[in-house]
Each structure stands twice: as C-alpha cells, then as structure tokens.
C-alpha cells in the first residue's frame, strides 16, 4: 500500500510541476487553459491512471504469487521433510541392519575360529613364595604353571600342564600332565595319557596354589603315601542316584616302583617313576558320593606289583587306600563360608626281605612296610559381612601327619599344625601368610614361616 501511495504522490507532483512548463510552451492569451490543452492533459492523466492500475494489478498479482509460492514451499517442506527424514532414517537403519548382519556373525565366527574350528585356551596359575624354616636357609621361590586346553570338538579335549620354576642356575621345566579325553556319553569320559591320579583327590582338585588354602601341601597325600601322577588310561564320570549324586574314576597305569636299594627308603613306593618296570599294571580308582550339595565323601585305592620284573620282588604287591571328605557350607549364623577338607591314606606292601645277602650294607631286612597319614583342614571366610576388607580375609587351620611302620626306618613320624591367614584380591588371586609348627619325632623342630601370593587365570 505504501508503494501505491508513493506512486500517486509522485504522479501528482509531476503533474503539478509539468503544468507551468506546459503553459510556458504554449502561448495563452489571458492565462487560462485552452480546450485543447485541457483535453491533452486529461488524456495524459487517463493514460497515467491506466498505467497505475496496471501496475497495481501487476503488483498485487506478484505479491499473491509470492505468497502462494511461499505457502507452497512451506507445505512442500512440511510434506517432504518428514518423508526425507524417514527415508534417511530407514536407509540408515537398513544400512545398520546390513552392517550388523554382516558384522555379528563375523565377530562370532572370528571368536570361534581363531584357531580354525577348535577352541584353545591357556589357563593355569603362578605363585611366588618366601619360606623361613628352622634349620634351613630362608628362600624365595616362584613357579609358573600354564595349563593348555585344546577342545578339538565338543567331545574331544586335550589338556596339559607344565611346571616352570627357577632352580640353581637355570630353569626347571616339567611336564606335569598331558591327557586326551573323549566324552563317551553324559555319564562317562575316557582319558588316555598322563593324568592326575584319581585315587588321590587332593592332587586332582586342591593342589594348585590358588586353590590350596595354605602355602605348602599336606603330608602323606602329597608326595607321600598316595600316587600323584599316573600314566595310563582312565574312565570316569558322574551320575544321579535319586536325589543324590555319585561319581567314579577307574584307571590302569604304569604304577610305582618299589625302593629296595637303601635302608632309609626300603619298603616305600616311588611314585615319580613314570615308566613301568614290569608287565603288571597298577589298577586304581575312586568313588565319590554327594548326599547333598556341598558335601562329598570318597574312597580311593590303587594296587600294583611294584618290584622290578625278574627279581625276587616281582611278586610283591602293594595296596594304597584313601578316604576323603569335603564340606562347603555358607552359613548365615557365622556370616560366612566354612570349608572342611580331610583325607587319610594308608598303604601296605607285602612281606619281603630287603638286601637278603647283606651286599647293600643294611640287610637282611625282613619287613611288611606300612605307611599312613593325612590331613584335616578347616577354613572360614566371612563372606556375608558388609566390610569389604573383612569379607576378603580367610582363616585356615590344618593338621597333617605322616608315619610308617616299622618305625625307626626312613623318615621319622611327623605331625604338623599350621595356622594361616589369607587375603583374596580377586576370586583367584590370594595373598597368604602362615606359620607351621613341625616337630618330627627325634629331631629338632622344623617350624616355618610362609608368605605366598598365587594367581589363577
């Protein structure tokens, strides 16, 4: 509207200004406008008015068109934008689906096929220890015990453990076990190779130092009366009996060697001789019974002919036996967890005469050798307390014992009492401190102080 008024004003001013000029150009007689001049001005005004109306119409049309276009653009934007966003979103989602669809299986496949179709894992544990024992120099020690697990198929597993530790000026590397196992069915497994002796539940289950609650291992069951490692074949498994459960493990193996050349060890079994010395194979096993969850009682045994083939000891037979009990219980009353582990073993070797002609300097020595010993361990950890520090503490008490008959031969009777305090840094990492009262019969005490840290992985 302002534009229109301006145009009209401009035209009027132009007319007013043009009037004297026109008059000056056409001579008049008395100062009045002639008819001819009037008609001419009228025609000019009409022409200008028509042009002004045309301009108004044109301007209005332009404004209207601009408004329409503006609304149209806005409407189009409204219509188009959501669709475009949806389209972009859908396209993005589709692309994500495509990428995810291609990526997820790739990651899973990658994880599952790092070594082809098999699954490989290195587990194990490591330890570092300080031991100060009366009568010996104090010393630090360390070991690394990798366990290689190779699952060739869901039924076929190879497992092997090494023991690597510094010794003297070098490093000792021992093959502790190497076994191939095959799952025959839900209740039976077949294993062949070098394995932890099933007759000795301690070495099968509690021997790793992140599991064993004290820094050292108990007498009699560890490198004592019972075998630790066997080379042979075994069949094992578990099965339900009504509301209870049972398990079993039976094996044939090379068996131990009978010590006959030394008065101190005569009549004892050497379980560290992994190659056989005769055609007779050791037979052994263990049966376990779990009346309720958290409680297991077991009986293990092994029998063999440990004498060298072709000697007078070839027909000597040995029998080692073991009973064990394991109880694990969470108690609200005691605000924590109680563990009770106990195992007692005994062995008997048939009557024999050692060094019969006295050529070894200690015979003739007739004897029916017997050994026995075991341990009981009670541990308490206040797992139900609110305090984090206290919850990670664990107190342990152990009694262990070893004796032989007839006494006076070989190692003396020995009984130990051990108190320990552990702090768990993680479920499989522990720092241990323990003191052991150890008084072998007829000898001065061998009391010991231990500090150890162990980590399972």
């Amino acid at each position: 509207m302002k534009i229109h008024r301006c145009l009209v004003a401009i035209i009027q001013i132009a007319l007013v200004m043009a009037w004297p000029v026109a008059r000056a150009q056409e001579p008049t007689t008395d100062g009045y406008v002639t008819r001819k001049e009037y008609e001419k001005l009228k025609a000019q005004m009409l022409a200008m008015k028509q042009e002004l109306d045309a301009l108004k119409q044109e301007n209005a049309a332009v404004s209207k068109q601009a408004s329409v276009e503006s609304h149209a653009v806005a409407d189009i934007h409204k219509e188009v934008a959501p669709k475009q966003e949806n389209a972009e979103s859908e396209a993005s989602a589709d692309m994500h689906k495509e990428v995810t669809a291609t990526t997820t299986p790739s990651v899973a496949e990658l994880e599952a096929s790092l070594l082809g179709t098999t699954k490989f894992l290195v587990a194990g544990w490591a330890e570092g220890m300080f031991e100060a024992r009366n009568g010996n120099v104090s010393t630090f020690s360390a070991s690394f015990n990798p366990i290689f697990l190779w699952e060739m198929t869901p039924k076929l597993l190879f497992d092997s453990r090494l023991e690597i530790e510094p010794s003297g000026g070098g490093t000792n590397v021992n093959l502790v076990n190497a076994q191939i196992s095959y799952l025959l069915n839900d209740y039976m497994v077949l294993g062949v190779g070098e394995f932890f002796s099933p007759s000795n539940v301690f070495v099968e289950r509690f021997e790793p130092q992140w599991i064993n609650k004290l820094p050292d291992r108990p007498l009699a069951v560890y490198h004592g009366v019972l075998p630790n490692i066997s080379v042979g074949a075994q069949v094992r498994g578990g099965f339900p009996i009504g509301p209870t459960r049972a398990n079993y493990a039976f094996y044939v193996a090379n068996g131990p060697t009978l010590n006959t050349f030394d008065a101190r060890t005569a009549g004892t079994l050497d379980f560290n001789s992994y190659t056989d010395n005769n055609d007779d194979k050791a037979v052994g096993g263990r049966v376990g019974f779990l009346p309720i969850p958290g409680v297991e009682a077991g009986y293990g045994f092994e029998t063999s002919k440990p004498g060298f083939q072709g000697t007078k000891f070839a027909d000597v037979r040995d029998l080692v036996q073991s009973v064990d009990l394991a109880i694990t219980r969470d108690s609200d009353l005691l605000k924590g967890r109680i563990n009770l582990f106990a195992q007692y073993a005994w062995s008997k070797i048939d009557h024999a005469v050692y060094d019969p002609d006295g050529s070894l300097g200690f015979g003739p020595l007739p004897l029916t050798a017997k050994r026995d010993g075991g341990y009981a361990e009670l541990a308490y950890r206040p797992t139900k307390l609110d305090n984090d520090f206290l919850r990670n503490l664990e107190m342990i008490f152990r009694w262990d014992h070893l004796s032989r008959e007839p006494s006076g031969l070989g190692d003396p009777e020995e009984t130990r009492w051990t108190l320990g305090l552990n702090y768990w840094l993680s479920p499989s990492t522990v720092v241990k401190a323990a003191y052991e009262w150890d008084k072998p019969a007829g000898q001065r005490n061998k009391n010991a102080l231990f500090f150890q840290t162990a980590m399972g992985f």
């Binding site: 994880e111 599952a112 699954k119 490989f120 894992l121 587990a123 697990l149 699952e151 869901p154 597993l157 497992d159 196992s181 799952l183 069915n185 839900d186 209740y187 497994v189 294993g191 289950r205 509690f206 992140w210 599991i211 094992r236 498994g237 578990g238 099965f239 339900p240 509301p243 459960r245 398990n247 493990a249 969850p293 958290g294 297991e296 036996q321 009990l325 394991a326 109880i327 694990t328 219980r329 969470d330 108690s331 609200d332 009353l333 005691l334 967890r337 109680i338 009770l340 106990a342 007692y344 005994w346 017997k370 026995d372 009981a376 014992h401 008959e405 768990w424 479920p427 499989s428 399972g456």
Partner: protein, 106 residues
C-alpha cells in the same frame, strides 16, 4: 591301617561335629527358596531340580572360589567347563546347564 585309637576317636569326633553342625550352619529355608527362584529366572534349564546357577555354584565351590561369568568369553567357558566336567566328574546335563547359565548371565 595303623591309626591309633586316638586318631580314630579324632576322626569320629570330626565327622560327628560336621554332621551335627550341618543344620545349625544351614541357611534359612526361606532364603534358599528365594535363591532358587531368582536363579531360575536366569536359566530355565535345570537338573535334579537345580538351576544352572545353582549347579555352577555348588560344583565350583566344592574346590575353589567361583569366578564371575564375565571373566571369560563364551568360547572360553565352553573349554573351561568341558575341562572341569572331566576333573570334577559332573554329568553332561550339568555341564550344559552350567554353560547355558554362564553365557546367559553375561
């Protein structure tokens, strides 16, 4: 066996103590039921009335502390539980229920 009478008495007392203190140390039944119900929400697979979580807890804690499910990948748990099945003499059904729980709990 050459255990002296004192040792035999000690062993008998130990067993008696363990058996009589069992109920004393037991968790309240209501709490046990709650634990069972909560665990069954994680895994529906069960064996002898025990869920995968309970089998995992009962079998592993017999020997050592239990390790959290997030500690290993699914493939690693497959291998570890396979190995432990052989060592601890658990059944195939228990093995599968435990593996299923460990994978679901992650």
């Amino acid at each position: 066996m050459i255990a002296t009478p004192n040792r035999t008495v000690l062993a008998c007392l130990l067993l008696l103590l363990a058996s009589t203190s069992w109920n004393l140390l037991a968790e309240p039944k209501a709490k046990q039921k709650t634990a069972t119900q909560s665990s069954s929400a994680v895994s529906n697979d069960s064996y002898m009335g025990l869920s995968g979580e309970e089998l995992w807890s009962n079998n592993c804690m017999r020997c050592h502390n239990i390790r959290p499910p997030t500690m290993y990948s699914n493939a690693q748990w497959d291998v570890i539980v396979h190995h432990m099945r052989i060592r601890a003499n658990i059944t195939g059904q228990e093995q599968r229920a435990i593996v299923e729980f460990l994978k679901a709990a992650k």
